[in-house]
Symmetry: D2
Subunit: 284 residues, 4 copies
């Protein structure tokens, strides 16, 4: 079912996010705590921004499990960024291939998904139909995730001239509504789980969503504070006392402490470019 994390805040060495916490994302690749099937060994990916160079993010993906990846292990202590997106995959729709690894990149945006749409092939061609040629051809892999993001981008660019958290929120609501309609029309009765994160390096919009309101969506937490600290595997968000600021959005808590807030079911978590966090219901 995958696990994901997103960080926005003061520049940080990514080792502190990916390896050092007791329940770090790399540990979740072996043994996630809040999943029935604890294994997320079907590849991984990260994306980050090197703003001192330009606004386009870097992605680094692999079909190998995160836990044994030598390059990830070596890069993590040397990369410093103010915005990191990371994902470990448990393949449902789509083979284990680089094209199916999250995050997906479109220009300066990064996207990732935790969840899935059962019998996705029932609606695959429907979801592609309205896409512009450019977005149609942007799709490289087989995942439900990438197709849904293409739909989201298509809606976003049709309805909005500038990229903002509000525009992304709007596009998510349109996408989820459309998806529910397509599912109903194409014989998909199982709930679709749609915890999704979009960032441009300046803001983050995340969803904790399930199409069937009787079901519980997958877990999604956030944490905010003046500064993110990890010591002996225990993470801590320091209370605001200076200019440092940091927000984390994660599938599961990185350590057993009380700094984590569960996003309510079918709500957005919106982190703007001043690091203010808003929680808002998803109207879809």
């Amino acid at each position: 079912m995958c696990r994901l994390m997103a960080y926005l805040g003061s520049p940080i060495i990514i080792d502190k996010l990916l390896y050092q916490p007791k329940n770090s994302l790399v540990n979740q690749s072996i043994n996630a705590k809040e999943l029935e099937e604890p294994l997320n060994g079907d590849g991984f990916g990260l994306g980050w921004y090197a703003r001192e160079v330009n606004f386009e993010p870097v992605t680094f993906v692999s079909v190998h499990p995160a836990w044994s990846n030598r390059n990830l292990r070596n890069l993590a202590p040397k990369i410093r960024t103010d915005c990191l997106i990371a994902h470990v995959r448990a393949a449902s729709v789509g083979e284990v291939s680089e094209s199916n690894c999250h995050p997906f990149q479109y220009k300066n945006m990064l996207m990732m998904h935790n969840g899935g749409v059962e019998n996705f092939s029932n609606i695959k061609r429907k979801i592609r139909e309205p896409l512009t040629d450019e977005l149609y051809n942007w799709i490289k892999g087989q995942t439900d995730s990438e197709h849904i993001f293409a739909y989201l981008l298509n809606d976003l660019f049709r309805n909005h001239k500038t990229l903002s958290p509000e525009a992304v929120v709007d596009a998510f609501e349109n996408t989820f509504k459309a998806l529910k309609k397509m599912m109903a029309e194409n014989n998909i009765h199982e709930a679709a789980y749609l915890n999704m994160v979009v960032t441009n390096g300046l803001f983050i919009v995340g969803t904790r969503y399930v199409t069937d309101p009787k079901e519980e969506p997958l877990t999604l937490y956030h944490s905010e504070g003046s500064r993110y600290v990890v010591e002996d595997g225990v993470t801590q968000m320091m209370a605001p006392e200076d200019d440092d600021q940091a927000v984390l959005v994660v599938s599961e808590k990185l350590s057993d402490d009380k700094d984590w807030t569960l996003i309510p079911p079918n709500h957005f978590v919106i982190v703007d470019n001043t690091l203010n966090v808003r929680i808002r219901a998803i109207k879809a």
Copy 2:
């Protein structure tokens, strides 16, 4: 631009086809002789039939270059088959991924392609439109090749109830005609190179084709005889003298001898299940 080979005949250890000839397919992965760009290092694939088990073929593909693949090296001297298809890739359209490796399999059929369609993305969605849902979802990768085969299969099953060399020939002609039309309507003026091979383990249909008759298609040879022999790197087709029989269809000669016949431009090579070989013009 890729290189390919197909064998149909008396059971043979595949090492004799893949490694032993001087200009074997594995050697062509490093240094093809009849290509401007001699390198075919973007993965490889083979498919063969184990008729003692059942009629579905086995495929074995890798994103690693053929020349250094330990598993290929180890399997080759131990696999015996009467029908082998093999391909080394030089990526044009589509990333280096297992999904983009040839041969492509549909049930008991195997398909592979040497060539390409420039600006393929111009017609990608057109080519998918007429596909049945099943064939639409059968496509796993990004290549022009796989999309063209989906179109071919779609035409084949719509117009024919049983699989035969004639049915495949017919479907190829329809596909090439349709492709030329789509290209013309979507602003693709470059010639498309379409050396393609389809087999079901019992017969082979190959094409040596280019959409623009003023251009020379890529090379495609065949060789036939009573038995295929390779000694010190030199291949030989023994003259018919007993019941053994063998036919090879290859992108380039496996050794410098006179057993190879160049297929004429825009012609089919058709090997039926009695190993008779016919050469026929492609009407498209």
Copy 3:
């Protein structure tokens, strides 16, 4: 800690061993039942004999997890053999690389190991010292396993002119004695777990061994009967009633039935070329 299996008997399609049982080796790669750490996702390997071709085995290994390996999935239903060795790895000593994948091959012999020697680097150079140049250079990887097998082969060829189960048993005893001595002299106080399997395609010798008699060795079972059958995931050894015969040696039971016998601690399981099974104490 790895999981392994070995089959000797009537020719069998290897899918029945690797995939079909409820607790098949491929399932053990995700979730082994009799290990504290259930994951064996650091590559896999198999070796089998194609006696219709020659006496040298084929090995097929990968650094990818077994559960998602497309080539393994495709090959398994088409390979038929009377002797299969297979291993899924949880890396302890040595990186995830093809050179560290079991089984190891020396001429017509295959070897694999489940267990480990703590602080192996303390004795690595000691264990290499007595080796002939040929065996010294035969070692390709970093594992304790491969080094111990090199020592075993060295002892075997020094003391025996022909290969037989008795010769292998003798070499194992010498090797385990020597290893205990080296460990004692080089400050290794932890018990070493040494469940090891050697075959030449005609006989199998397996050990269930731990250097410290106060410790329990890792599990190792065997099963024997007239024929191995798997239906709906449940394996069964048919009672001897005809000429068919089959023996399995496995780290853990392939399904919950009573056909499995736990080898006693520090005992050999010896399957000879008539498929007779003997259990004998290891004198070391």
Copy 4:
């Protein structure tokens, strides 16, 4: 035979070194200009220093060819460093595995090699004998290169308390002398080609060396100037006019211009931490 490059100077985006020059190292992976066998497709590796974090370098290696590596392509435009080491491999001794990829790292040092020792297995155990246990166990792969570097490090730390270009020069001369002796005593009569580069991120020592003075060593060039510029594939070393400084040491010229100086046969190129370059005969 491999190709290599080393850069020391003003911080630079590594894309300018790896991709932009006409004859960039990535292009050399497909088609090196100054090698009989132009292909270097058996993996690649780079190492660089992120001094703003600490003194240990990062290494990034892959068994895939450099030309199609998505992660390398993505990382290159975002990594800025003042010391980069990079290598594309054509495997001679040792399989295609991450352990055999250059550069090799020991603490804050990086090492790489272009060349080879024929029949290296003749002297493999000799070269390991004098090593400290730590360096004995530091060796992870099978290459002649890594073994020679272990010998070099062993000599270096035995005879020198601090790391300096002079110390490395001294250790190289001892290593080459010892190697020639071992070769002579163990029946290796072919010339060994030893273009080797060692750096600690502050200085570089490179060798252009062949053990047989009658042979021509492999090419090795250097280039120095105030600033390294690449425009439309053409590299240029600007004449010293300001504080910017840069030195390149490369197997072959990155573009056809006159900024490149061939190191004389059997000479060192020594770049110290003020970017002064000295060329000095190798006494061995």
